[in-house]
Amino acid sequence: MLRMALALVLSLLLTTTVAQADEVTSTSAPDRSATGGATTLEDIMARQRGETVDDSYRRDNTGDASADPGAAQLGTLGGASDPELWRALRYGSADVTTAARNSGATTLVQDGGMWWLNFREGPLVTYGGWLLLGTIGALILFYLTRGKIAIDEPMTGRTVTRFKFIERFAHWVLGGSFILLGFTGLFVLMGRLFIAPYLGKDFNSTLLTASKLIHNNVAWAFILGLVMVLVMWVWHNIPDRTDIKWFAQFGGIIGKNHPPAKKFNGGQKIIFWSVIVFGGSIAVSGVSLLFPYELPLFAKTFAFLNDIGAPGWVGMSPLPISLSPQEEMQFAQLWHAIMAFVLMAIVLAHIYIGSVGMQGAYDAMGTGEVDEAWAHQHHSIWLDEELVKRGDPPRDAKPEKVTPAE
């Protein structure tokens, strides 16, 4: 279901280009008698104006041996002519055999790649880049106005264990791999545009070769980390009533209140589920890309969305359900990158609040030990639970009812 929802969002982004491919602008068949049914000057001009041209007069004109059975004896091509064969190759309907054992190898010409290339080098890089720069700018602005979130109470010198070794280990496997994947992914996406012109194509080539190697292999560590944090923390991240109060007071990030929270507060739950949802989607599309053509995701997803009428809800024509193997990979690549940009922006905020943004926050993932004062300010309910576990009185205990002396 998640995959379907994600695919819908992607398809919205790609509406114009994808939908155009299936649409025909002109309902009446143009007069092509002057060229004997072949492409006319008007066809060419229409294409150059960026209009969608009905190419069925070429796409379907790939020979019909059954029309003249005797023609099969006429020559090596039988009833077909060279132009018909080339048209069949052009539109992917030729009977191609190849020694290469991947499904993409029999598609010799596919023009579905142009909109992908344009989208990848255009809106994806532009909006993705600005999203990250905008997030960094907003965090700097926030730091300059709000400053570091300090611990209000005096430090007690007593600590509680916030995260065990295995929890911190999983966090850093996930975080370390994500940073590597983020940088190498950005290099691969943007290197040709922003590195090669300044540092040279040789440098860019070497960097991107190394980036690809790192990206493809570190991916497994990311997936392992993702599974580990999911298993260990999912029960602590189920939304509950305390989150409402937490959000109502903006988590103490804005203002001076420090709402009570369990092991994970509302904001951390947002981060957790973002990592799980976006990270999971990135992992699934990434594995699809790691094993090209073997794990296609989009044709089936689009078919499902069409079946439930989802494109119609937003006024779209049905999504394409017949995708070439290469188009499957193009969708997977775009989806992978879009999800990654969103998660990178979220993780930037996470890194900020876990380091320079909040006094004492880093200790939770550094040594795993946090001062009771910090724990009381940010996770008071959890602190009391921990104190009770080790036999200490809870900090926020309400005075017990005094039983009158008899």
């Binding site: 070794f165 999983a170 850093w172």
Partner: protein
């Protein structure tokens, strides 16, 4: 800090193991993309 370094070390170990491991069990691109009759290096 130890957990962080252990996490980073594990990431590197997993990446190296994945790179050589997948090639070893026949998941290199050249293995996947060629038929049995193709001689690979």
């Amino acid at each position: 800090m130890k957990a962080m370094l252990a996490g980073f070390a594990a990431t590197i170990v997993i990446a190296i193991a994945a790179n050589f491991g997948l090639a070893e069990i026949g998941f290199s691109a050249q293995d996947r993309y060629s038929s049995d009759s193709v001689r690979l290096d």
